[in-house]
């Protein structure tokens, strides 16, 4: 699965994208990311799966496109 980081999250993690495998849902993903990038704990963001922001824990499937989205600031 592809995981994208945007805005401040790309800056903090030093990555704009990475491959992830063997992660079954967004809650598990979040725990792993916070372990790998402790600074994420202090930042506000949402997780999108296949370009939709889900409510609660979302199941991830092979080929899902996941993204970490900081607060929007268009305009």
């Amino acid at each position: 699965m592809k995981l994208f980081f945007f805005g401040q999250l790309a800056e903090v993690t030093g990555k704009s994208e990475m491959e992830i495998t063997n992660i079954s849902d967004t809650e598990t993903l979040l725990k792993k990311l916070e372990a790998d990038f402790p600074k994420l704990k202090n930042l506000k963001f949402q997780i999108s799966v296949d370009r939709k922001i889900g409510k609660g824990n979302v199941i991830l499937e092979n080929g899902s496109e996941i993204a970490l989205l900081p607060p929007f600031a268009g305009g």
Binding site: S48, R51, A73, G74, G75
Partner: protein
């Protein structure tokens, strides 16, 4: 008559007054229009912790943004009596005093134009994945957050 074709929203750099004039003049042939409402977002020279913003550098999650904008457009055409609607947003660097957002709504009557334009701007700010890095003169930056 409504116009719903998908169009390119994102533009590299600021949106120029000439581009806006050109958009306006394209509506001369649409003689059912009685009212246009245009919203322009301009980059402010905010002072943050004693430093003045000199530019905002915009980025987006383009595929998701385009899907979301398409939904917003479709919904606007069902909610409001509109003849046409155009949305443009900058990517990359836009300096203070320059324009980064151009929302252009046209309707037979003013109430629909006003309602739709305001609704669109709020939806764009709330739901479209766009980010802005506020850059200071010393090349440091902070990340912009929209106020409701």
């Amino acid at each position: 008559m409504t116009e719903k074709k998908k169009h390119k929203v994102f533009r590299e750099g600021p949106i120029s007054p000439d581009f806006i004039a050109d958009s306006i003049s394209k509506h001369t042939t649409k003689t059912s229009i009685g009212a246009h409402d245009i919203f322009l977002g301009q980059v402010r020279a905010d002072v943050i912790n004693g430093k003045t913003v000199e530019a905002i550098e915009y980025s987006t999650y383009q595929e998701m943004a385009e899907e979301k904008l398409h939904e917003i457009r479709e919904l606007a055409f069902t909610k409001f009596e509109l003849t046409c609607m155009h949305i443009y947003h900058s990517l990359g660097k836009v300096k203070t005093g320059e324009i980064s957002l151009f929302v252009f709504v046209s309707s037979p009557h003013r109430q629909s134009a006003f309602d739709a334009c305001r609704w669109l701007v709020e939806e764009i700010k709330k739901d479209v994945p766009i980010w802005g890095k506020e850059i200071f003169g010393d090349e440091t930056h902070v990340w912009k957050e929209n106020k409701i």
